[in-house]
């Protein structure tokens, strides 16, 4: 069954249809939440909040084709609400020790991913939300801006800043030591 049909059935209260919708989206929503929140438990809370709210309010979704955009917006807001509600704290993220790469190459795998992760840890949650929505969930930038309630210029500025930070991290000399990085919730 196509997505539109599944959304229509879920809107009528069919749990199986909603579970089908959930199954093909859950991994990516969880990934986006972990990128924004940098904490697996918090991400789980945000995704649960999102899916329960989506189920509850689904009868009010007028255009089934907007289901994904609506769901992603719910997720972004759930993540940022969680951030607002928590006092600042440091999250320890254990990263696997690696061998230094012989040359800096964006496609070279683990080293770059580790550096990228460090760069993302240094960004504010609002910046990470733009990155997650645009690059992980494939949302167009104007829709990202609308979802986060920020002007398009701000969304572009955040994306540019985040890209610059990530680019600098992967083109700089990598640190070969085992890494523990601090992530922050503002």
């Amino acid at each position: 069954m196509d997505q539109r049909g599944l959304v229509e059935r879920a809107r009528q209260g069919e749990h199986d249809a909603f579970a089908d919708l959930l199954d093909v989206r859950l991994a990516r929503l969880d990934a986006a939440a972990r990128l924004i929140l940098r904490d697996g438990e918090l991400a789980r809370d945000a995704v649960q909040e999102t899916m329960i709210r989506a189920w509850r309010d689904l009868p009010g979704l007028r255009d089934p084709d907007r289901f994904d955009a609506w769901l992603q917006r719910l997720l972004a807001n759930a993540c940022l609400d969680l951030v607002r509600r928590r006092k600042r704290r440091v999250i320890e993220v254990e990263l696997t020790p690696i061998d230094a790469p012989s040359a800096v190459d964006i496609a070279s795998g683990l080293a770059d991913r580790q550096l990228l992760d460090q760069a993302l840890a240094g960004l504010a949650p609002g910046h990470r939300a733009v990155v997650a929505l645009h690059y992980l969930l494939g949302m167009p930038l104007p829709e990202v801006a609308a979802s986060l309630g920020i002007p398009i210029g701000t969304a572009k500025s955040r994306l540019h800043y985040a890209l610059a930070a990530m680019r600098i991290s992967v083109t700089a000399e990598p640190d070969t030591a085992p890494a523990t990085v601090a992530g922050g919730l503002a």
Partner: protein, 432 residues
């Protein structure tokens, strides 16, 4: 070295490798939780506008003793008239709901409490305190009451909307469903209700005086309800899809007289081309943001309330985003945030708040250089002063305190209010 373009192309794959980890192990728990949750009944989300005559049509009932009722009604009218005459001679004069008014107190949230500030003396008094986290107070248009968000602590996105008298007494919760900061909240012109827009195109009218249930406001074919026209809220501006694409339309509040803002055969746009709609205080004009050529340029346009006279307002060149419009109370100026695109670096730079004259389109700066997020600003009720605050990202609300500036709109001079606020202050309107 990898080019920026190449890097940007690689980012989605790199992020997917970093964060995508298969179906999470809480999938089954989640499905069980959903199964135990009730959906909101479909009737609470009517997808079509039903004229009020239909929804409130009376059902014939048993014949009533009309003569006796008539006598009673006459007596009631006489008593009411006498009471009104008495009250009329003793009641405080109220300002009009829109347009120029006298400046009153300011409200602001700080540390989970709500404070009232006298902007002349700088004296600030806590009027809503307690263990709850209360934020973002908003005065009613007549300044006699205010609404605010209250965090209930029962879930990550759960807030209530509470209304109180201007001194903080008489608090009552008016929302029946959870609300969040991204909802658009507007007091109605008569102050008897709050128009709640959940930003998904669903608009609800909440009764702030009686105990009427929330009333959904929807219109046939309307995807995103934008704004009801001041001062009587008799016309609705909305966004919809026609055969030519996305467009802006107007419809009378009774669901009749649909007409486009752009003339038939005129410009049609994509979904994201229009935004930021604001009616002028007298309801004679609409300001909106238009993205006319997919270039990244976002400019202020205005149109007359009947959809005629569409024109770009500012005359500045270059690629800019002109956003967040705020009309002066007399409707002669619009203040806005703006960012300029630098093609050499690919970056957007915030500029000071601009004020544009509606007559000639000339823009002037006001206030200091804002943060990358822009500024929060608002005209005072008399239009002579502007409150200014650096805008913080949504995740910093409640965690960062700033001291607002008061800017003289005529000469740009400023003074700081020495209180730390965690959301922009809101100014009370008083009768002149």
């Amino acid at each position: 070295m990898t080019s920026p373009r190449r890097f940007e192309q690689d980012v989605p794959a790199l992020l997917a490798e970093l964060y995508l980890a298969g179906i999470p192990d809480y999938r089954d728990d989640l499905v069980r939780q959903v199964a135990g949750t009730r959906q909101r009944p479909a009737w609470t989300f009517p997808g079509r506008w039903l004229p009020m005559e239909l929804t409130t049509a009376r059902v014939p009932t048993t014949r009533l003793p009309m003569r006796q009722l008539g006598v009673l009604a006459l007596i009631a009218i006489l008593v009411a008239a006498l009471f009104a005459a008495y009250i009329g001679t003793h009641q405080q004069k109220l300002p009009p709901p829109f347009g120029v008014a006298r400046n009153g107190s300011m409200l602001y949230g700080s540390g989970g409490d709500i404070y009232r500030l006298d902007p002349t003396t700088g004296v600030s008094t806590a009027i809503v305190t307690g263990p709850e986290t209360d934020q973002v107070p908003m005065y009613s248009r007549d300044g006699t009451r205010f609404a605010f968000f209250r965090q209930t602590g029962t879930g990550p996105t759960i807030y209530q909307l509470v209304v109180a008298n201007s001194d903080g007494t008489g608090q009552r919760v008016v929302s029946t469903d959870p609300v969040t900061f991204d909802y658009s909240i507007n007091w109605s012109a008569d102050g008897r209700s709050i128009i709640l827009d959940d930003t998904h195109g669903r608009v609800t009218r909440l009764d702030t005086v009686g105990n009427a249930p929330p009333q959904k406001v929807t219109y046939a074919g309307v995807r995103d309800i934008i704004a009801l026209r001041p001062p009587d809220e008799g016309v609705l501006l909305y966004q919809t899809v026609t055969a030519d694409g996305w467009t802006l339309q107007l419809v009378d509040a009774d669901g009749t007289h649909v007409r486009p803002v752009f003339p038939s055969g005129g410009t049609s746009m994509r979904d994201d081309d229009y935004s930021g709609y604001e009616w002028s205080p007298d309801g004679s004009k609409i300001a909106f943001r238009l993205h006319p050529d997919a270039s990244g340029d976002f400019r202020i346009y205005i149109a007359n309330a009947d959809g005629t006279g569409v024109r770009r307002l500012t005359k500045e060149t270059g690629t800019e985003c002109e956003c967040d419009y705020f009309w002066s109370p007399d409707g002669t100026q619009i203040a806005f945030n703006r960012w300029r695109f630098d093609p050499t670096t690919g970056d957007w730079h915030a500029r000071p708040v601009g004020i544009v004259s509606v007559d000639d389109g000339i823009v002037r700066d006001i206030g200091p250089q804002p943060t990358d997020e822009g500024a929060e600003f608002a005209f005072s009720p008399d239009g002579e002063t502007m409150t200014w605050l650096p805008r913080r990202s949504p995740d910093a609300i409640g965690t960062t305190k700033d001291q607002p500036l008061l800017l003289n709109v005529t000469d740009g001079s400023s003074r700081t209010i020495s209180v730390g606020v965690d959301s922009p202050p809101d100014w009370q309107r008083l009768a002149q």
